[in-house]
Symmetry: D2
Subunit: 284 residues, 4 copies
């Protein structure tokens, strides 16, 4: 929704959080358009996401932050305030496969995901024409398999130059170094082509075929330094049969990959994802 401020916070669960937050907003004229809460009773932790009509408040986000400060202190909130009218800046990393990339570009072009795609960076020469057809800058940054550091340094430099808030690994066939995983914590979204935690690592469809599974899946997750272990945002599966070869699974799985990556990215861009430990809260 346009003309909204997004208020996202989590804190230890206690009495009065909703009351005081809503009252502060209401006292300042704030109109809550959407509100979602979650109480994790195991961990006694509270999560909340509110959308407030921006022009119902007589001040901007920086003043809103000041108004929130007493609540942040009282309830020990982790608070994030986001202007819903400011699309996030996104850099997409890709390799040779085009299906996720083409899918994201069309969604962006069709205004079905709300973000600025600043650039696509690839370690492969393919897909240049596709990207530039959308008037998006395309960079080829090779990662030398015997000396990866220079390539990743260049990658990082570009990401920072574009001031990207979100980095999408759209079937990017490189493992980011731990330092980058830390630097961009909860900002890097990967699509893994299996239903994690099944089939971690390389060749998941081949693994799936060998195990004789009757479903294949895909998982979008935040990247951490532990390969394919990061917090899961979205997952889905489709039915397959004995009649499908490992190569068929690759082809069929693409549909799930595209959808699951887009679903995870959309939730992230709309600030609907909160991370707690290695689990996510994803407000619909």
């Amino acid at each position: 929704m346009k003309n909204t401020y997004r208020i996202i916070f989590d804190c230890p669960d206690r009495r009065g959080i909703v009351a005081k937050t809503a009252t502060m907003l209401s006292d300042n004229g704030g109109w809550i358009l959407d509100a979602a809460h979650h109480s994790d009773h195991d961990h006694q932790w509270f999560f909340s996401r509110l959308e407030v009509k921006a022009d119902s408040l007589p001040f901007d986000l920086s003043v809103l932050r000041e108004k929130f400060q007493p609540l942040v202190d009282e309830f020990e909130m982790n608070l994030r305030l986001v202007d819903g009218d400011q699309p996030k800046r996104v850099v997409i990393l890709a390799s040779k496969s085009s299906h996720c990339l083409a899918d994201l570009l069309d969604r962006w072009h069709s205004n079905d995901i709300d973000c600025d795609i600043c650039a696509v960076i690839s370690n492969h020469c393919a897909n240049k024409a596709l990207v530039e057809g959308y008037d998006i800058p395309y960079h080829e940054v090779m990662i030398d398999k015997d000396d990866k550091a220079p390539g990743f340094a260049e990658l990082e430099r570009l990401i920072d130059r574009y001031d990207a808030e979100t980095i999408v690994l759209a079937r990017y066939m490189q493992i980011l170094p731990p330092a980058m995983c830390h630097k961009y914590q909860h900002q890097v979204i990967n699509i893994h082509h299996s239903f994690l935690p099944s089939f971690v690592g390389a060749g998941p469809y081949r693994q799936a075929w060998q195990r004789g599974v009757k479903l294949v899946g895909a998982t979008s997750h935040y990247v951490t330094e532990h390969l394919d272990q990061g917090p899961i945002i979205a997952q889905d599966t489709i039915h397959v049969s004995h009649a499908h070869t490992a190569r068929d699974l690759v082809r069929l799985g693409k549909d799930v990959e595209k959808t699951v990556l887009a679903r995870g990215l959309t939730a992230h861009l709309e600030d609907r994802v909160m991370v707690h430990g290695n689990r996510t809260i994803v407000f619909d």
Copy 2:
């Protein structure tokens, strides 16, 4: 959850509803365990469902209702207060098919749905042993096809004698008369064996087979006087193929019917369903 009060209300959407409600609860010591809201921006209408820790409040439901009265007046709320420790009283109506009935009885027996199944009433002699095996009263009430009124009068008498709040049509093969639909508005849940609005009326699997659909589905909905037109609570579908006969569809569809009826009933029993016009809000 046990030891909770459920607070369900809807009203025209305005500023301050959440703030005043939450503050009233908080001022009385109320601990909100779960909160879900929905704003229908098309109709400018607000829907809310709260669960409050019952013993966090120093009074009972009748006093809570009094405390709510000023808010009800100010915001023109339709308010429902429910003691979460009081399972709803349910009567199941069945015919010859046993799959939905057996499924519900096992869920109840396994404590997977929270209700009191007071009785099963059937217009068919089957399933008596099954029902009585669970120590649940079983009544056979025949509906004479040439004179239905006496049968339905008896049915109504039984429902009222059991003081049932919820009536489940578990593949009950009779159409309730309009007067009963009105009397038990939003209390009667039916399972229709198609993905409504496709294939209204009799023989939906035969209709589906003839149309050559590649999915069959089921729909649980509140019963109104308009056949298969009532507010939808839950739906699902499964894939079928040309290899399936109409008879196969009947068999395969049963899995969806069972699941969708149970899902709809569970939402209803937990007071997660709100009806607005002919649409439902179903809080997860």
Copy 3:
């Protein structure tokens, strides 16, 4: 699979069809790589699709047809023989929406569907750059709403000029005239943005939202002169909730539309679809 001949036939069901067919092939050295049969016991009709290793036979398709003639006569077969190495010629018709079009183009580019996309014809100025980025001819053929005949005549001329065997309506917002439906019988595949037979005609997502369904779907089908009534090839659905607006349904439904159109088209291109009356047999 490459280097195959596809043998597709249907006929009244009788004893000996498989035996005589397989024996004729075997006697000529034919190696059957894939075989699928279906007996419709209601209509006593038999359907079969075989893939034979092309170079296992000592002759070409025209001789194979001669060899088949006695069987065609004896069993009253409708027989189709297809060289699996000859990709079908496809023309895509599109309007403003790009999601199905972009999806098909990427599948084609990624070799995930086997066909020659000869041209894209649109009644809208959008998507020209996208199409031409793939080096595919793009034609804009406007259909004047007050005089549609000239536009459709031009459309037909182009289709014939490209010698297209398959016409894909990738969210093409025009209803083909009956004469074209007849001329290209079982060659035109449409994607309808609902789970047919629900919500025939215009604005299905709006209709779905008003009915309050909990699933939306899509249907790919052969076009006939009866709007949205043609034989169904593929269908799927996804879950939606009260929280989704009619506009959300449009966005969410696109994922199903893309997948279901591609699935239907793939089956068609691989000659896996047989039409019988208004139903399809779709061999996996």
Copy 4:
């Protein structure tokens, strides 16, 4: 289907298998009602399942077997011949949970699965009344955790006394000893409450919750001596969210367990499952 013989075989893939098999049947008057084939091109192996109208043949199964012998020799077939009118004898093993058991009993009672349920054996006192309500013998066989051998010996004795061809582990909470796994190879079907190979072993829902997955699943598979590693017959998943506790996953997962167990068992009972290495071919 009734009045059928099922012919199931696999062999190295070669020319002429279908031709010679179908011709032998046809020469004897055999009417093929259903035929499914699969060629595994990786392993050059051929799989086939035929249903023949029993009374179209002028002899019984033992003569049919003799007629097949030359083909068995020539093509090195593993051949199984089954009289479709002879339902398989099934023993169900259960523990405390009733959901899979109650579900199977109702399917059997409703004639939706075709078998003779000879007995239910449990290592727990629950579910006796349920089972006996269906007039099925119920045996309680405790497995002493410090000395399991006597319990399993008794179990084996009962299975053999009932001459069971199929053993269903309907959430049976014991691991069969390797000797029993060997003795009843491809006869024991288990339902594992996760989407294998994820979450092998105990407490899969707890593991799933901790990993923060967005789907939970179930797997029916043949039991081997390697825990949860046997050939997979059927799988499915459902969506879950952060709002669900580990206990919710247990409850929600039951629907998938029931369906997936029934689907796997049905395929097995209809002789639609062929095992090759650790993979299954499951003909629809």
